[in-house]
């Protein structure tokens, strides 16, 4: 059978296209501009993290790429096709931020329900469900109704239902909120495995340790990308400095830090404090901390330091 020459061209083009492409996406809700010319691409087989303050537009961006909302401007494409094209729908999986399960069905019944939605062969279902139940530790609770699960167990069941379907492209909107630290690690190991197998994953998250585990990260604010790149490269380009404050009485030290404009953020690091300081401002800060018996020791910045510093800078 001979392909129509123009159609063959279109197919080849679609095969070479990035998995996800957002070009100049704009969307307003009343007076709020949720997306303001957002542009980024995710290559096939990439694990891309979308981070940003609450309200930055992450969910709206993911919904646009899932073809679920109308755009005021710009173009969202998936696997070379328009995001709302029916031909692309079944190749993309989505876990929305508020994923609804059947509350009056049990854990097992919910999983079986979604396996039917995704039309999974029985053997495939059995293998995947077993693995997901192990990771989420929901195995012992197969017969419990979804509405009797704890908050985090419910979230993990939702994630298990979404992950049953191993689509070419997976969109996850804050999939681990409320999930405990042990399960969070195991779920991320599973995502890495999927990506190793060729899946493309776009994930939004409020956890900066998760952002650091992505191949590339886009930092969004007010509907646009502020920064984009591989976490180690972004951290290497960090403009501020990170320090640990040692010694001194915590409350008094914190009061002094709060008074100092060059201190962009302070967070507990064990009994010490970890701070982000504008480049070059540390010597002066050290002088004002000395009378409190506190000293500064430089530490390697991490992605959370970077987030705190860039967002504070934008807000200022």
């Amino acid at each position: 059978m001979e392909l129509h020459p123009e159609r063959g061209e279109a197919v080849r083009e679609a095969d070479a296209a990035p998995a996800l492409s957002a070009r100049g996406l704009s969307r307003r809700f009343g007076a709020v501009t949720a997306l303001d010319g957002l542009t980024f691409e995710v290559a096939r087989g990439e694990l891309y993290g979308l981070v940003g303050p609450d309200g930055a537009g992450k969910t709206t961006a993911i919904r646009a790429l899932a073809g679920l909302i109308r755009l005021d401007g710009g173009e969202a494409r998936v696997l070379g096709l328009a995001a709302d094209d029916h031909a692309v729908r079944e190749r993309v999986g989505l876990m929305p931020q508020q994923f609804s399960l059947y509350r009056d069905l049990s854990v097992g019944e919910n999983l079986r329900f979604f396996s039917r939605v995704f039309v999974l062969p029985r053997e495939v279902y059995r293998r995947r469900a077993e693995r997901l139940l192990e990771i989420t530790r929901l195995g012992p609770f197969l017969d419990r109704r979804a509405d009797a699960l704890s908050g985090g167990m419910y979230k993990k069941l939702a994630l298990a239902c979404a992950l049953l379907h191993e689509p070419e492209v997976l969109l996850l909107d804050e999939p681990t909120n409320g999930v405990d630290p042990v399960s969070r690690r195991e779920l991320w190991a599973l995502l890495h495995e999927f990506v190793h197998g060729g899946m493309t994953v776009l994930v939004s998250t409020p956890y900066m340790d998760e952002a650091e585990r992505c191949g590339r990260v886009g930092l969004m604010n007010r509907g646009r990308l502020l920064l984009e790149g591989a976490p180690p490269a972004l951290i290497a380009g960090f403009r501020d400095e990170a320090y640990e404050v040692r010694g001194g009485e915590r409350d008094r030290v914190e009061a002094e830090l709060a008074r100092t404009a060059s201190v962009r953020a302070a967070s507990p690091a064990g009994e010490r404090l970890r701070i982000v300081v504008a480049r070059g401002a540390a010597p002066e800060l050290a002088r004002s901390l000395a009378p409190l018996g506190a000293t500064l020791a430089p530490v390697t910045p991490d992605f959370e330091d970077l987030f705190l510093s860039r967002i504070r800078e934008e807000d200022a």
Partner: protein
């Protein structure tokens, strides 16, 4: 008013137990919380944290055991308990389609506050929570972090002695989380007792004491520093560099290596200091193909404690 004597605990749980059918969600839990303390309650999903809170709030009757909160018995006098506490539930408790001020007035009405006094108090709280000027904003249009601060404002409108915050910062961004914790600490220094759950173990460092739950039982209760001393006697190392993911396998099972975990882009490991040091780890990783390896010693974190208490290895040991 049966105000507790000064120095008496504000929360007192004795063998507190809750079963659902044959399943024991909270299993003979006993602890005390002092006035003005920030008390953290941690554990894996399903460990029984929210169920404990609902019993302490007078919302769910204990199957057995007792608890007193602000001087009242939770089973005998749940209404007095409800009047002396504030509660931010894990599920959302605000009306998203109402303006911010209406939500606060609604909470106030539920606590028997009315009229001018209520408006003045609501204004004070908007100021305190950094929401001044947002009175007319529709609640659903606020970013998550602000909504959580509004929910906290609603929970403390009636000046409760104790507030229960069930995962108040879930899904909240790093900047907004810090703002929320500044509020918690301000409340506590004003004498309010704060009972809080969280899965962000960095912020749990701000708790004076932490209780750790595993499968309904309270298995550890101490200050953050005390928990680290007891549960993480090993040395904690952080390795950074290129190609670590591939080289990490070379560490597994080596003499002196207790655990290896990915940590951001690096590796987090626990070693027996008598058998392996920083340089040794660096050599193993470099020999396995990693480049530009830097290995530093780190203070154990509460995440290390959490993994030691509820991680799979810990559970495996508990089973045998």
């Amino acid at each position: 008013m049966s105000a507790p004597a000064p120095g008496a605990p504000v929360i007192e749980a004795r063998q507190l137990t809750r079963r659902f059918g044959s399943f024991t969600a909270v299993d003979a839990v006993s602890f005390e919380v002092e006035r003005g303390e920030i008390f953290g309650y941690l554990g894996a999903n399903g460990a029984g944290k929210s169920t404990t809170i609902r019993m302490l709030n007078g919302l769910l009757a204990p199957t057995s055991g007792t608890a007193r909160v602000a001087g009242h018995d939770v089973a005998a006098d749940p209404d007095s308990v409800k009047a002396s506490i504030g509660y931010m539930s894990q599920k959302f408790s605000l009306y998203l389609d109402l303006p911010v001020m209406e939500n606060l007035l609604f909470f106030g009405g539920a606590y028997g506050l009315f009229g001018k006094a209520l408006r003045v108090r609501a204004g004070e709280l908007l100021e305190l929570t950094g929401l001044a000027g947002q009175d007319a904003a529709i609640t659903g249009s606020l970013p998550g972090g602000m909504r959580q601060r509004l929910a906290l404002a609603g929970a403390i409108l009636h000046r409760p002695e104790v507030v229960f915050l069930d995962e108040p910062t879930a899904g909240v961004d790093p900047v907004a989380r810090r703002a929320f914790w500044r509020l918690i600490r301000q409340l506590s220094s004003g004498g309010t007792t704060v009972f809080v759950t969280t899965h962000y173990l960095d912020e749990a460092e701000y708790c004076r004491r932490i209780g750790l739950m595993v499968d309904g039982r309270l298995v550890a209760l101490d200050s953050p520093a005390g928990l680290k001393r007891t549960w993480v006697p090993d040395r904690v190392l952080v390795a950074r560099g290129q190609g670590l993911a591939g080289a990490a396998a070379a560490l597994a099972g080596r003499d002196g290596v207790r655990s290896v975990q990915p940590f951001g882009a690096g590796l987090h490991l626990r070693v027996d200091p008598a058998r392996l040091d920083e340089a040794g780890v660096g050599r193993i990783l470099s020999a396995a193909g990693a480049r530009e390896v830097v290995v530093d010693r780190a203070e154990p974190s509460l995440e290390d404690v959490f993994l030691a208490v509820v991680g799979r290895e810990a559970r495996g040991e508990a089973v045998t």
